[in-house]
Every structure is written in structure tokens, then in C-alpha cells.
Amino acid sequence: MSDRPDFQPSTLVIHSNRSYESQSNSILFPIHQTATYIHESVGVTKGYGYSRGANPTVNALEQAIAAVEGTEHALCFRSGMSAITTLCLALLKAGDHVVLSSVIYGGTTRLFLQVLVNFGVEYTYADTADLAATEAAIKPNTRLIFIETPANPTMKLSDIRAMAGLAHSHENILLAVDNTFLTPLLQPCLSLGADISMLSTTKYIDGHNATIGGSLATHDEEITERLRFVRKIIGSIQAPFDAWLTLQGIKTLPARLAMHCDHAGQIARWLEAHPRVAKVYYPGLDSFPQKALAEKQQKAFGGMLAFELDATTEQSLRFMEALKLCTCAESLGSVETLITNPATASHCDLPLEQRKSLGISDRLIRLSVGLEAPKDLIADFEHAFAVIFGSHA
């Protein structure tokens, strides 16, 4: 699509992956559910030799993701975690050091603490919302700053431009951003200076809870080739069928995101006004301490929020169970509204003390606002409040 640079994102996600060379005139890209390819002669292929290395359907998804990332280079993986695993194996070696956002998805923490540490990769947590604190965490062997913004689950923001400035003021330090909560459409982190944008495509990119997947995007061709090489070696490439489903999901990404943001804003304001709600964490609220930063680097406030009830942990959990439309389940970014208790789900691997110091209380509730009518979601909350606190809650 480099010959059509002026299209809007909502056009690109639909047309960037069309197969204009297709002989069949199929509107949808085919599912190349194949492991291997027939060679024309020994060593001569049509660009595809073995699907662990590359696959046309996976490549079509990669083109669509590259289009929304605003780059030429994106690669897809079996999961968000396998994207991060591949990134680390490609860029880091034993003895290297990583600075990690202290508030970050629990699965990322687990990978660094319990897997990569065995391979000799060191890490330090830093409050990446604080430039000086992050700078203080940098060591001579630091090779990567890995941040998540908004951070899962407290919505804490890190300034991507400032982090990029810090990384690039050193030789050999790259900045990678887990952009899963917003996607590049709401936060173009490569334009903001990140070297690598990482997505769990399971979330907003697919949007329908149909697949597990991940992606990495970069402007750097050398990094792309290194990632591609490591992906082929360790076999972490996305599967053709899951890529095809994601390819259908991404077509409605701009439309869905607009609705997710609208609904989340309505729910956040409604919750904040509720007498039984102690605190709401949503970058679009005036009460959010980093609202100015959100306005600076985000195009919208997103579909994720967290809140605490003015209640005990036990009451908070019962409140979650009393909800009918909001489903208790891990994951986020789908058409269904999903609700979780991070302390027992996404962040259960974190030690209690660490959770507390990061503001992840046992009663914290994370909400991924879906596409149901906000009126119905609010009625669902009202019902749950009534169940737990009585009808005059």
C-alpha cells in the first residue's frame, strides 16, 4: 500500500490486505492452511518455502497491522507473550539488562522474572511515569526499555516521547511499547519515538475474542529481519487460520474503537458519580492525575478503566458476580464487556507487597467496556449495587 499513502486508517484496515493479484477475484484473502510449498525447482520458490518462516495469510495480516502502525514492517506471533519472547530472544543476550515499567501486565512480569532470568537476562522495575526514576534504573548493560501505557491495570501513563528521548540519549538502548490498551490508531507510538510497538492482537485488533495472537512493528528494517529470523528459528509465527480471523476483525477496528471509547467514557463518568464508588481510574476523567499527558499522546481515552468500590474486597467480588451482562473473564478489548479482579487474575503472580506498592489493591476491579448499549450496562451495574448494598445503594 506504499503507493497509496494518503488513505485514512478506516480505509487501510479494509484494503491494505486485499489480494489485488488474486486470480479468483475473491473479496476475502484466502486461508493458506498449508505447512509447506511446492518449489519450482531446487531452491526456487514463490517467496514461501515453509509456513514456519512465512505464510501468505499471515503476511496479509502483517500488512494490515503495518498499515495501522504507520510503517512498512510488522510481524505476527502466536500470542502477545510469544511476541515479547521473540523480541527478547532477538535483541537480548545473557548479561543484558532491561528496564521494565513497574505497573505492567502480569504475564510480562512472569516472562522476565521466571523465564528470561534463567537465560541470564537481568531486569529492573522502574516507575516509567517518572523520567528521573527511569534514568536512575539504567545500567551500562541496559539494552531495552520496555513500557506499557496505559498500564494494566491502574491505567498509569508513561510519556512515550520522554522515554524515547531517554533511550536514544544512550547508545544501544531501544524503546519497546506494549500498546495493547490503545492500539496505534489511538496512540501511534512509533511516531512518538518508540523503536518497537508490541500488541496483543487477542485484544482490540481481533476484537471478538476469537484468537490468541501478538504483533511487533518497527520502522527499522534490520530489527525486522532479526525478529523474522528468530521467529523462524523458535517457531513462534501466528497460524494461518488465526491470522485470517484477525484479518476480518481488524477491518472494524476504527469503528469499534470509537464505540469502545464512547461507552467507556459514559461508564467512567457514571461510576465516578456513584456514591458507592470510591475511585475510578480512567484517563478521560478530570480527576485522573495524568489527564494532560493522555491528551498529549493519545487520540482518545480508550475502552479500559478500573475502579474501586467503597466496600470490602469480599463485597467487591460479590458485586462482580452479581453482574449479568458484564462477564467475569480474563482478556480485554472485545465486543463483550469483560470484568476482572486483577489481584486474582492478570496480576496474581505478583507478590502481595509489590501489588500493594503499585496501587493494585485486592478490591480493584478492571473493566473492559464492550459494545453493548451503555444504558444496559448501567442497568446491570445498578442491579449489582442493589444486590450488594440494598435497593437504596
Binding site: 509447506t36 528459528i233 517457531g235 487460520f241 458476580e321 467475569c328
Partner: protein, 378 residues
């Protein structure tokens, strides 16, 4: 129960209310929780998925293991199996392993601080000589790819266990139908499921099977943490392919035996590498530890040019990497599946440049032989 029965007699849809004969495709990322602070059997498909579970349980049963784990590729399976090692550990591997494996061992594991040494594991003295105090895992294929060398798995397992080492066997050339390395003492069995288990070239996948629960817990942890588990659709396709494993392999192996003999008698062929031939150096060991010779074989064509010419002249044998499928394929390992072998290893690996590897499919045997005979006419 005999193997043919075990291939189809298992619960295809545990806990499914409709009791379908074919395993449902649970194409979902997440699962509703039973309670706000606890999970049911499944919570997130990276961590566990009902379709994947049926596949994993079935392969564990066929390999006489206790737990199996399905991955996005055979190499993802090898990556997970070797991720139980820590910086400072070493792998002792047979020198004739798949090119992608040597690439992992050469390009990734050293960056993790894991060393790899190669030895001729068909020679126990060479195995002993190559061991160091850092050795933690012994890694082999038998028959190996592409030279079909036979490794005495029982003997290696005994030596490995004497020293407290893990023994990992890539069983892709045999499948659980023909060989069960866990029964011979291996600790980890690895499959590229892309090969015989799938059989139709439509899935890229891998499996790790173990017996020991502590090892199973470690592999499970890595499967979840590194996130390379196989997707539900691919699990479904593998389950479907797996049901005909015996039918396919019986047909493929019968043809392979006849083709091996045809090649052995062919005037222009110097050596045929097939463990089903009495002339094969590993014939006796293989007969002791496996129940058939499989359908992958190699031969020397005389020159690199002749190898290329034969590959490009056959009509029924398609030039493609991979093996074990219903389609017959022909490849030049040095230029294809093993081109990924790091250069510094290629010289010591002794893979002849005129080596042609065949994977025999389920086409008519006479037509396959006629196709080869015509291509080999000069």
C-alpha cells in the same frame, strides 16, 4: 487395546453437552470465570483450551506418556523442551539433527548462555568422551534426518540417567505408531506434528510429551509463559489427521520398503539410507527399538548436479521441505531442510551434496517407482 483402535477410541468431546463425534473447535481467547476471584478448568486459551486438551491427552496416550503439550511448530516444541535448561548448562546432541534444530542450538541457545556440543551418538564411546560436567541434556533423533542413522535409544537413556541428565528424543521420523522413546527411557519426546501426526501438510505444529510430573509442570509453565501453544483450529485438524496415522503409515511404509529396494538395485545409486534394509548399519538396533522403518529415505545420486536433475525431473514427487505427508516429496537436504545448518557445522556434518531425500506418500507404489525410474534415466 491395539494401536489402530486407540487412534480412534478416545473421548473426542469431554464435557460437551452435545457429545459430538468430532472434537468441537473452541475458537475462543477467553472463558467465563465461575467466580470473580477463581477460575474453572479453563481461563485463557494461551494457558489451556479444550480442543488443545483433547489433542494433548490423545498424543500423551499414544506415546505412553502422562502429559503432552502442543506448540505452534516443531521448533517451538524444541525451544520449549530446551528452555528447561539454564544459563551455564550444556546440551550434548547427535550431530545429525534437523537443520532448524542446529540453527536454534547455534544461534539462540548460546545467547541464553546454553552451550551445545555435538557427538556421534550412534557410538557410545563418542558420547562418553563428549560429556562435560555442564552437560544437562542429551538430544537425538532416531532415525536421524536426513541420513537415517539409528541411535540406540535404550543405551543412551541408561547412560544419561546414570549421570542424572535429561534425554530428549525427536521422534518425528517415526511417530508413536512405530516408536515410543519414553518406553525406551527417554524423558522428553518431541514431535514436529507437521509431519506424520498431521499427515496432510496442512498444519504447522509441534508436541512435547513427558512422563515425569515435575518435568510436565515445567513444560506447561513455559508453554503458558512463552505463549507458543497451538491454536484451536490447528488442534482440530491434527486430531482429524491423527485418526488415519496407522492407515497412512502402513501404506507409506510398504511403498518406502519397495522403493528402497528399487534404489538399492539401481545401477547408478551408491548408497540407500533406510533402516528397513538389511544392509543398513543400524538395522538390528532399529528392529529392537522400533516397529517399522517409516517412509523417509535418502540416497546418493552420484553428483550434486544429478541430484538436482532428478528432483526437478520427477513428476509425482514434488520438491518441498517437510516429510510424512500423503504427498510424496523429494528434496536436496543440503540445499533445503539443512541449508539452515550453521556454516561452521556443515563441514563436520558430512551430509553429502549428492544426497536426495524422499518422503513417500500414499500414491500408487508402481507409479512412484516408474516416476523415479524415468527421472533417473540419463
Amino acid at each position: 487395546m491395539k494401536f489402530a483402535t486407540r487412534l480412534v477410541h478416545y473421548d473426542p468431546s469431554p464435557d460437551d453437552p452435545f457429545r459430538p463425534m468430532a472434537t468441537p473447535i473452541y475458537q475462543t481467547a477467553t472463558f467465563e470465570q465461575e467466580h470473580a476471584d477463581s477460575f474453572g478448568q479453563y481461563d485463557y486459551s494461551r494457558s489451556g483450551n479444550p480442543t488443545r486438551r483433547v489433542l494433548e491427552d490423545q498424543v500423551a496416550a499414544l506415546e505412553n506418556g502422562t502429559c503432552a503439550f502442543a506448540f505452534a511448530s516443531g521448533m517451538a516444541a524444541v525451544t520449549a523442551a530446551t528452555s528447561v535448561l539454564k544459563a551455564g548448562d550444556e546440551i550434548l546432541a547427535d550431530w545429525d539433527v534437523y537443520g532448524g534444530t542446529t540453527r536454534l542450538f547455534g544461534k539462540i541457545l548460546p545467547r541464553r548462555g546454553i552451550g551445545v556440543r555435538y557427538a556421534d551418538l550412534s557410538d557410545l564411546a563418542s558420547l562418553h568422551a563428549a560429556m562435560t560436567p555442564a552437560t544437562r541434556m542429551v538430544f537425538a533423533e532416531s532415525p536421524s534426518n536426513p541420513l537415517l542413522r539409528v541411535i540406540d535409544l535404550r543405551a543412551i537413556a541408561a547412560i544419561a540417567h546414570e549421570r542424572g541428565l535429561l534425554f530428549a528424543v525427536d521422534n518425528s521420523t517415526m511417530s508413536p505408531y512405530l516408536q515410543n522413546p519414553l518406553d525406551l527411557g527417554a524423558d522428553l519426546v518431541i514431535h514436529s506434528a507437521t509431519k506424520f501426526l498431521c499427515g496432510h501438510s496442512d498444519v504447522t505444529g509441534g508436541l512435547v510429551v513427558v512422563k515425569d510430573q515435575a518435568l510436565a509442570d515445567e513444560i506447561y509453565f513455559l508453554q503458558n509463559a512463552e505463549g507458543t501453544a497451538l491454536g484451536p483450529m490447528d488442534c482440530f485438524l491434527l486430531l482429524r489427521g491423527l485418526k488415519t496415522l496407522k492407515l497412512r503409515m502402513d501404506a507409506q511404509q510398504q511403498s518406502a520398503g519397495l522403493i528402497a529396494r528399487f534404489l538399492e538395485e539401481h545401477a547408478s545409486v551408491d548408497t540407500v539410507y533406510y533402516p528397513g534394509l538389511a544392509s543398513h548399519a543400524g538395522f538390528a538396533v532399529h528392529a529392537r527399538q522400533a516397529r517399522g522403518a517409516g517412509s523417509v529415505l535418502s540416497f546418493n545420486a552420484g553428483s550434486a548436479e544429478e541430484a538436482k536433475r532428478i528432483a526437478e525431473t520427477t513428476k509425482l514427487f514434488k520438491i518441498a521441505v517437510s516429510f510424512g505427508s500423503v504427498h510424496s516429496t523429494i528434496s536436496i537436504p543440503l540445499k533445503m531442510s539443512h541449508a539452515s545448518t550453521p556454516l561452521e557445522l556443515q563441514a563436520s556434518r558430512k551430509i553429502p551434496e549428492d544426497l536426495v531425500r524422499l518422503s513417500i506418500g500414499i500414491e500408487d507404489t508402481d507409479e512412484l517407482i516408474a516416476d523415479l525410474a524415468a527421472a533417473m534415466e540419463k
